[in-house]
Amino acid sequence: MSDALLDIREASKRFGKVRALDRVSLSVAPGERVALLGHNGAGKTTLFRLILGFIRPTSGQIAVAGSPPGSNAARLAVAYLPENVAFQKALTGRETVRLYARLKGAARTDADRALERVGLADAADRRTGTYSKGMRQRLGLAQALVGSPRLMLLDEPTTGLDPLSRRNFYGLIDEIAASGTAVFLSSHSLSELEAKTDRVAILRNGALVADAALSKLQAEAALPVRICVKTEPNKVNEVSERLGGARVNGQSVELLCPAPEKMARLAAISALGPLVTDFDVSQPSLDDIYRHFSTQDKAEDRS
């Protein structure tokens, strides 16, 4: 056993014929922030349910804080925010968080402090039925904060939030992680993930296809840089011939080049002198990287 807070070894889960998870191995160290990425149906929620002990793996082992999932010790160490949770509309935010605080054996003041931390102190005595989506997610986070968990499991916490609430939410998560709580959160797109996570794990059809720091995934994917060269409409053919790129709309040429060759290409472009009116360089986006890992199978099928 390592000293990991969460240790998943070769865990598989089948629902009848559906193989929801296929020999997934993953660990989360104390205080670490890990993002779990995957399309809908990739198995993210299933993995969380296994970690919480709601369902048992078909094969493989999972240890939470060194204990079996669902055991008292494991439940004391973990907090959970399910996907799309809808709190009782008739209760106020404070009543809601205090209820879960008592279920966890935490003090009332703990609940009030959690509400303050997520910025809901002013709205705490309003019924949750009046909350916006962003406030409801922050309420969910407050509920998870209560009882000082060592590991926080957040299932697609920012799906459906507008960009501002999302940034706000990830800001809170950064603060929580900075105070020593490990955060394991899922999302269905890498670009949505504004949290500075230490690691990114990608699930594809139940199998883990990547598990590394974002910078490492970027290097591993080795996606080409996209250079767009603009020119006069009547010079497009000439530019395209000399640079070897593809013509897009009558007045620009697009080139894809591996990152190490970028400078050489730029030199070639500047050698064209007045033929070029403008140019743009775009790095592969987070979505490009995510697509690279999450759809590799299909790309291989096609080629």
């Binding site: 919480l52 959970y80 399910p82 008739a90 209760l91 879960y100 279920l103 054996g105």
Partner: protein, 276 residues
Amino acid sequence: MIGAVLAIAGAELRIGIRNRWVLLSALILLAFALVLAFVGAAPTGAVKASPLTITVASLATLSVYLVPLIALLLSFDAIAGEVDRGTLQLALASPVSRSAIIVGKFLGHLIVVSIAIALGYGVAGALVVTLAGGGSAGLVDLGRLIATSIGLGAAFLAIGYVASASVRQTGTAAALAVGIWLAAVVLYDLGLLGALVADSEGTFAKSVFPWLLAANPADAFRLYNMAALDTGTAATGLSGLGEALPFPPIVGLASLCGWIVLALGAAALVFRRLEP
């Protein structure tokens, strides 16, 4: 453990009061009780029983229909609804036992039902005493009716939890609850009546029928209350029900208690198997 049970019970009670469940159920019980007391069951001829006792007799029949309905409407959503909304996953992720969750909900809902019944029937009883006279005679009967109606509510709350924990969707749980109400309160009696008509003097009527009545919590409730009224006043017009039974009326009460314990146990068992 106790803290968790009380927290859940408190939340359920709060929800019951806030979304006007308590008030609405009390008003419905009161309205029907008043209709029965002042319009429907006007006693004719020389009746020695007090007006309150006669009202209690008709309220017992009212309870058989309304109390199970109120209890089932409260409980069908208790588990399935929380699975749907994701709040059960929150509770189950915390270090609280599943039986504590069931017991907490039961306690909270039971208080909701109790307030509604005590309020509805209490006000109805007070109005009967003020308007029709008769003094305090029959107060014991009213007290017994309220207490056993709460017991009836408890039994159907627990039965509702079994239904709620056995399905995944709230809609299915709702349909199941309506089905249970129809079967226990309407169809069961119709079936017994049919059998009785077919075999009115045989062994069925004398020795099987009363036991079948006692086996159904709603009928057991009515049986016990009617028999108690009968022996108490000997003049409710329900001649000698107590003597016609092959067992003491207390069996009805025992059956009701048995149903509460059994259904709660079954609910806890089904709930333990649930994978949220």
